[in-house]
């Protein structure tokens, strides 16, 4: 039963909740990952790689901007979404909020790879979205993501040829893989400034089922995760990296669930690092007592 998202004023509360939940998880992932990527600016291994990662950061931030903007139709603006929202109300997966240890370029390129493959799959599942703006914006985003994936793959292949490089990749993989799985976790509906409800974690799965049922996204999270595993596991193994999943196990789903970190981001539980990051990124806005965000570009069309 696809919902009708042609007009934003006639949305039922179920439709609105599904829309807000989907778009905050999409937008927050991009926004927070971009923020982390910018940590590499003026700190990357070479001038050329510095430029390339800065490019990807700007792309992701541009994507966050597009996703957040869809929520303008239901009265939520950048101010409310990025600068005045309670940090506990963000719905990105913890993969994107973890800080980079100084010099851990293996983390940067591996995280990028794990994320970008997941992103490509979810974008594919949004191309036929019942929401016209979502469907329209996917194309522009996907054509930028192709470069990100290829860039990450090239670096992984390059580093994995070297013993030291491969060892560092393995460390990063062991640490990041559980967090990457959070990308496929259902998100607790964000409050977005509304009065605090019971904020029921159990609702998350039901709301994600609504997202699919209403045609906002055409694949389930389980399907996306399984496709993602079928791509990243063989590729990483081809680089002689060990992935902590046994896909021939009797109950692979349960094994994967057991790997998930305690705080998953999607459930509103975050690592401490996120709160520090949020504090820093809203610092100027708060200290200058701003009540609105500056726009430089025109609002996205379509």
């Amino acid at each position: 039963m696809a919902g009708s998202f042609e007009a934003s004023d006639g949305l039922s509360s179920r439709e609105r909740r599904a829309l807000e939940t989907l778009l905050t998880r999409l937008g927050d992932d991009e926004f927070v990952l971009a923020e982390r990527y910018t940590e590499w600016q003026v700190r990357a291994p070479s001038l050329e790689s510095d430029l390339a990662l800065a490019n990807n950061a700007q792309d992701e931030l541009g994507h966050a901007r597009l996703w957040y903007d869809v929520l303008a139709d239901v009265g939520l603006d950048e101010r409310a979404l990025a600068y005045e929202r309670d940090p506990a109300d963000f719905r990105h997966g913890t993969l994107v909020e973890l800080p980079f240890e100084t010099g851990d370029w293996a983390d940067a390129v591996l995280r990028s790879y794990l994320y970008d493959v997941a992103e490509d799959l979810r974008l594919e599942a949004l191309t036929a979205s019942s929401h016209p703006k979502i469907a329209d914006r996917v194309g522009k985003i996907r054509s930028e993501e192709k470069y990100h994936r290829e860039h990450a793959r090239s670096w992984l292949e390059r580093l994995a040829e070297d013993d030291d490089g491969r060892g560092r990749l393995q460390d990063a993989l062991d640490r990041l893989f559980p967090h990457a799985l959070t990308l496929f976790e259902p998100a607790v509906p964000p409050r977005l400034g509304a009065k605090a409800s019971e904020n029921d974690v159990a609702k998350a799965a039901a709301v994600d089922a609504d997202v699919v049922d209403l045609g906002l996204r055409t694949a389930t999270l389980e399907e996306l995760r399984s496709e993602w595993l079928s791509i990243v596991v063989p590729f990483l193994e081809s680089l002689d990296l060990a992935v902590a999943v046994d896909r021939d196990a009797e109950n692979p789903e349960a094994d994967l669930d057991a790997l998930l970190p305690d705080a998953r981001g999607r459930d509103g539980a975050h690592t401490e690092a996120w709160f520090d990051l949020h504090d820093e990124l809203t610092r100027t806005y708060r200290e200058l007592g701003r009540t609105e965000t500056t726009t430089i570009m025109e609002a996205p069309d379509g």
């Binding site: 792309d59 541009g62 901007r65 597009l66 522009k140 192709k146 570009m297 025109e298 996205p300």
Partner: protein
Amino acid sequence: MIWEVFRQERPGEYHAHCGNVHAPDRELARQFAAIQHGRRKPTNSLWVVPRDEIGEIDAEDVAFGGTTDKSYRWATTYSTAGADASEVAESEDDQADAEQRRGES
């Protein structure tokens, strides 16, 4: 073996691709290029480069400059008050020109 040839017409200018030559080694490639590509048009310098050593990435491989709005990168996006320094104005004009040509391609 094919060698790509880049010509600089006058000192200080840029070397621009102007053609290629078949040659078995760098020395002959330089000598062939001097005649084939330097005998008539004004030439100050030629670069000869083995074609196999040239990597290429094109618009099919990558969306140069991105597909989402990047107007924040362009001087033309910002309106400021009063006369700009001549070099700032020139930069802005050049950027406007580049933006327009990007739009047309």
